[in-house]
Amino acid sequence: MQRVATLLGALLVMAALWPASGLDMSARAQSPIQADGQNPMGARPTADSVNEEFLFKQSPKITGRISIPDGKAANLIQPQGRQYQMFREGWLPWIGALVILGMLAALAAFFLYRGRILTDHSQESGKKILRFNAFERFTHWMTAVCFIILSLSGLNYIFGKRLLMPLIGPDAFGALAQWAKYSHVYLAWPFMLGVIFMVVVWVRDNIPNRIDWEWIKAGGGFIGSKHPHAGRFNAGQKGVFWMVAGFGAAMGATGLMMLFPFAVFDVNGMQVMQVIHSLIGVVFIAGILAHIYIGTLGMKGAYDAMGSGKVDLAWARTHHDLWVEQEQARTASGPQVASHPAPAE
């Protein structure tokens, strides 16, 4: 039964097509292509060809059909490559140098103006309070080590051939760049994991609130001597947190696109990914330079928080008074001493 239906269907289709094809044939027979190459449609098959100008008016790149499996090869001309060249060689080195050297200069100027921020002595000096537990410190340092290597290997893509290559020669630089590249693409993974961990353990303490606004209005205690109130993280630290979360996500997303090229985007999309990755990359590096400065050289006592995990109580009282109160209220037994276990965070 089904076969009969199929047969009938096929016959119907053939019947429908028959007159049409007949018509077509007779039309062609009646008006053959004229001697001057002109056909009745008015098109000249040889002379009226597509050309570059016409195709570029229709779309910014010229794409056709290809008979090999590599789909990317179907792009005949993408002049955007020239723009990408312009960005990467004309702009990026200057932007990168300006942003990073500018930050270093700003930090140096601040250091000269403010010096090392010290904590006034009080009767709480010498007592310790746990600020970051082992997991928090592990997360921080895993991400930090990856970040430093990612930064150096990333900067090598931009500046290596300009600064390092003339010094050590092309062969040594080639070998070094290869290792830098491996380190960049492999350490990207623990870096992304670290950023995820950081968000999980710290996002709770980084939600902006009214205290932050007061802190910003008071200049964060950087300017003048008055110390504004702050919880576990002050507005500046919250800024660093959100920068790491946001830029980390952006670097991860664009970096992943570059690790799996053409998985999502075509060549123009890849160019955009690369531009975003490099621009955010240099701003990120500058931002973290400021973070490193204030965590080490800029402020006495700050480093301990991520070093041993325990900070001086007087320091904590000065910079994170609300947090100290909260911790002391919670543990009821007062400040944590060295032998105490980490509070269940």
Partner: protein, 198 residues
């Protein structure tokens, strides 16, 4: 000195892909790598044309500019070559190349694309001319033997022209004047920042 260029006369190209095949054979190009390819534009529509495309050996080559390890160099003949010993396979040259010329033996994943490969204008690489090392990395060096690239030499319709830029532009110009039409020197504006004035 000559300034070597390619010009594909699309009004002659019949998309036979012989240039593609000849290139693969001449240089023993590995699977998956196409130093040359034929792209058909307006496929199946009036005015359809095919263009054989490979590295154009650009003036102020974008690939060379963006390469983070500066592994490119331009020969006295204007041919853009590179060193596979220095290349780190970052893929930037593919993003920069207007013609999709750079090829990689492996397809991405973890940045392990392998050393970039592209059309050498049949003139090898930095190794000594006609050495085994050169052949293994870059294929044959016909220019060193006084011959032009094989793709253009064996093109049955002489659509693909290779040689000194001024000479091939003149040949193309004569053709256009004689037959009364021409779809233009594809890619010249982007590659050489000039076109063939007819």
């Amino acid at each position: 000195m000559a300034r070597m260029k390619f010009l594909c006369d699309a009004d002659r190209c019949i998309e036979c892909n012989a240039c593609v095949t000849a290139c693969k054979n001449e240089h023993e190009v590995p699977w998956g790598i196409n130093r040359r390819r034929v792209v058909t534009l307006n496929d199946g529509k009036p005015g359809e044309r095919s263009v054989s495309m490979a590295c154009m050996h650009c003036t102020d080559a974008p690939c060379a500019a963006v390469c983070p390890v500066n592994c490119f160099y331009t020969t006295a003949d204007g041919v853009v070559l590179h060193s596979k010993d220095i290349c780190i396979g970052c893929g930037y040259c593919f993003y920069a190349c207007p013609f999709g010329a750079p090829q990689y033996p492996r397809v991405g994943n973890f940045g392990s694309r392998g050393k970039m490969d592209k059309c050498t204008y049949c003139s090898g690489g930095p190794e000594p001319d006609l050495s085994t090392a050169e052949y293994e990395k870059y294929g044959s060096n016909r220019l060193a033997e006084g011959k032009l690239p094989l793709c253009a030499e064996m093109c049955s319709t002489k659509a693909l022209l290779a040689g000194d830029g001024e000479m091939i532009a003149e040949i193309y110009k004569q053709r256009v004047l004689k037959r009364g039409y021409g779809s233009g020197a594809w890619g010249w504006k982007t590659a050489y920042r000039e076109t063939v004035a007819i």
